[in-house]
């Protein structure tokens, strides 16, 4: 009788165990972690990050170490960065990488989900817009000790650039490139429309005129959309003000007329078909940089960063750079900005190895042969000199551009405050409401001020 009772129970137990083992080993835990970033365009190895095979002892070189690294970019960047990682592993066989690249969209959503799980990558590509948020929440390691003990050699990097990665006195981001806002223009589109190519001293009036004529004469767009907070920040700076207060607790400009002027300009550009509607913009935004209208000859200009022509050199080698339009009687609105940083997660067990990689990235000639300034101007003066001998026309343009931009620049604003993502969306929404003829520019400017200040105040706590 015991056998009859015992057998079913044992069978049931074995069955349950088998089911649980097969269930546990099937998934690799990716579906949960990637839920937040599911819309981002990721390439190849989308594996979970933060699993380090090393023992965590930073001092023993031969111990195999697996560094997880994340960056944003387009396919060009993913491809050459992977080559870079492979090269580093060749030179340092005990170091291997687990890479999780993605597009810009959703990159920081994914990072914040990883931060919540305590699983930030060892090396994180970081942006000026977000470094304050991550740094102030103690997620990024202070790398000053590594500079002091010479693991990280910043001797050939300009002190101002180094300083841009300092938040509250801690060096939590190492700038790996510098850049500035630039207008990329397609000379062929201008030529076809019979419009003279832009020159650095051009004004907003001349800009509007050129855009209108391109649209009238050829039916193409004059400019891609200008509606974003970076371009607006440039506009505000030209009025001698700043988008945010120094402490980030509220908007930094008092006069709503500044925003009203901006909105009136973009509205008129949209209405005469020289700038896309928000709808048209949404359609092309989801493609990679290489397929933007200015690259394919469907628009005359695009406001972007100085490395845009380097990124798109493969798709259209004829694009050129020029400074954004000047405001007659206004101030120098441009600023030289760190293109991006590499940060190291505070939770990383391999800080020293991570820093060594960053050091190699900035200072090594063979690394920069591969990087080819795609992320922006190299920060090391030695590398800049080294590259000068072998620059492609686009890279030469970018280097030259930065010298020109310097003449029209003023000191950089502090990093964007917490809550910036929401403020940015509110700005775009406010302007779009006018684009859709729902409210007046004055209303939009007032509403934006109210909402933005609310958000900033809430996040300052």
């Amino acid at each position: 009788m015991t056998k009859r009772l015992r057998l079913p129970t044992i069978m049931a137990f074995l069955l349950s165990v088998m089911i649980m083992i097969s269930a546990c080993s099937g998934g690799t835990g990716n579906s949960g972690a990637n839920g937040a970033g599911s819309a981002s365009t990721s390439s190849k190895q989308e594996t979970s990050s933060g699993t380090n095979a090393g023992s965590g002892n930073d001092n023993s070189d031969p111990e195999p170490v697996k560094l997880s690294i994340a960056w944003w970019g387009s396919q060009t960047r993913h491809d050459y960065t992977q080559k870079l990682l492979d090269l580093y592993t060749e030179l340092n066989p005990y170091v291997t990488f687990e890479a999780t690249p993605s597009g810009w969209d959703g990159y920081f959503d994914k990072l914040s989900a990883q931060a919540a799980g305590g699983k930030l990558p060892d090396i994180i590509q970081m942006d000026y817009q977000y470094i304050a948020t991550f740094s102030n929440n103690d997620l990024l390691a202070d790398l000053q000790p590594f500079v002091d003990n010479q693991t990280l050699d910043l001797g050939r990097v300009d002190e101002n650039i180094v300083g841009s990665g300092r938040v509250n006195g801690e060096l939590t981001g190492i700038a790996i490139s510098s850049t500035a806002m630039a207008v990329t223009y397609n000379p062929d589109v201008f030529a076809n429309a019979g419009v003279e190519a832009p020159i650095p001293e051009w004004t907003w009036e001349q800009f509007i005129d050129a855009m209108t004529r391109i649209a009238d004469n050829t039916g193409k767009l004059g400019t891609e959309s200008l509606i974003d907070t970076q371009t607006f920040s440039y506009w505000v700076r030209q009025h001698g003000q700043h988008l945010f207060k120094e402490d980030g607790s509220a908007l930094g400009y008092e006069d709503d007329a500044i925003m009203v002027e901006f909105i009136n300009m973009v509205k008129s550009l949209q209405d005469n078909k020289s700038m896309p509607t928000p709808d048209e913009r949404a359609q092309y935004e989801s493609r990679g940089k290489e397929a933007m209208p200015v690259v394919t000859g469907d628009a005359g200009v695009r406001f972007d960063w100085a490395n845009f022509t380097v990124i798109t050199a493969g798709s259209n080698p004829n694009l050129k750079l020029v400074t954004p339009p000047l405001k007659g009687g206004g101030e120098n609105g441009l600023w030289i900005k760190p293109g991006m940083f590499f940060s190291v997660a505070e939770s990383s067990n391999h800080k020293e190895e991570a820093v060594k990689f960053i050091n190699w990235f900035i200072n090594s000639k063979e690394a920069n042969d591969i990087i080819a300034a795609e992320r922006g101007i190299p920060v090391s003066s030695e590398i800049r000199d080294y590259l000068k001998t072998s620059l492609t026309p686009q890279q030469q343009d970018m280097f030259d551009y930065l010298n020109v931009a310097l003449q029209y620049s003023s000191p950089i604003d502090p990093p964007e405050p917490s809550g910036f993502a929401e403020v940015s969306k509110e700005f775009i929404d406010a302007v779009n409401k006018v684009m859709y003829d729902q409210i007046s520019p004055e209303e939009a400017a007032q509403n934006f001020r109210k909402v933005a200040n609310q958000i900033l105040e809430r996040n300052a706590n």
């Binding site: 991550f134 709808d279 993502a421």
Partner: protein, 309 residues
């Protein structure tokens, strides 16, 4: 558990042992349920009373999130309005369509099985990212819909997705297109109506419309009730379509509740507030489900009742 099994079972009663087998087989699901549902739900409830930006430990703030949600957050009301509109329009349209097609298929046609399969396919693939991308393409600026309109002479600058007035309708359309699952359930329900009812109605001289209103619909009310509850609950949870096709735009005209919730959590780093939104949604769905259940006695006829009203 192991130790229990190893002991001799002489003293154990048969019933106890059967329970043991049952629980053992239940164990994988039970553990999954606890770990994947119960624990995160409890965590979410806890977070809803905190200020948690996911980057550092949560800070208790009591009811602040709920107060802010109801008094200071415009996007909460906007997203509620959008989601309600979606549910109130999409669900009846979808069920009406499903019933219509089910009735058409409730005949002795050739290739009936084939038709049923084709009509069911959209609802299998429907909720996915892939279809949403295709939908975005069709109704977007360079898409088929614009080209078709242009071919018959209607030129417009805004696509259906880019127009704040029509964007929500493209998503409603996507929801209605997936009527297949509801249709199958209606089909099953239709098959259960005894044909004797129709025969006696015919003898009494009832026309098709009468037969539909006075026999089909009343007999179907349990199935309608079931479909209604299912679709309303699913309707409130709409996310993928809004995220992929319009990302809440243009101008928040498709800002679904769950989309807003997601954005608050992951883009604005407000996990605590977002958890409060999640529990508010639970309350809202529960409220509507409750109302439906309470009113069912007045309009749902079950076979077991005598005669029907």
């Amino acid at each position: 558990m192991k130790t229990i099994l190893m002991k001799p079972m002489l003293k154990r009663s048969r019933k106890e042992n059967e329970n043991l087998v049952g629980y053992t087989l239940l164990a994988p699901w039970l553990i999954g349920f606890l770990v994947i549902f119960v624990v995160p739900m409890a965590a979410s409830l806890y977070y809803s009373f905190t200020n948690y930006n996911m980057l550092r430990a949560p800070r208790f703030v009591g009811l602040d999130n709920y107060v802010r949600m109801f008094t200071q957050d415009d996007s909460f009301w906007i997203s509620l309005r959008v989601t309600f509109f979606y549910v109130l329009v999409m669900v009846p349209l979808r069920l009406a369509f499903a019933l219509f097609i089910a009735m058409l298929l409730n005949t002795r046609r050739k290739f009936l099985g084939l038709y049923r399969t084709f009509y069911y396919i959209p609802s299998i693939v429907g909720g996915s990212v892939a279809v949403s991308i295709v939908w975005k393409q069709i109704f977007g600026n360079d898409g088929v819909a614009m080209s078709l309109l242009a071919a018959i002479g209607i030129e417009q600058r805004l696509s259906f997705i880019g127009n704040p007035d029509t964007a929500i309708w493209t998503i409603i359309l996507l929801g209605v297109w997936q009527f297949g699952s509801s249709m199958l359930i209606f089909l099953a329900g239709l098959k259960q109506i005894p044909s004797s009812l129709y025969e006696s109605a015919l003898i009494d001289g009832a026309n098709a419309w009468s037969r539909f209103w006075r026999i089909t619909i009343p007999m179907l009310t349990p199935v309608i009730f079931f479909n209604l509850i299912l679709q309303i609950i699913n309707g409130f949870r709409v996310f993928t379509e809004g995220f992929i096709i319009t990302d809440g735009g243009p101008l928040d005209s498709t800002l679904f509740y769950v989309l807003n919730l997601y954005r608050r959590a992951f883009t604005y780093f407000e996990m605590g507030y977002s958890s409060a939104m999640a529990w508010a949604l639970v309350a809202i769905i529960a409220f509507f489900t409750l109302i439906l259940f309470k009113t069912q006695s007045s309009w749902v006829h079950y076979e077991s009742k005598e005669g029907g009203r």
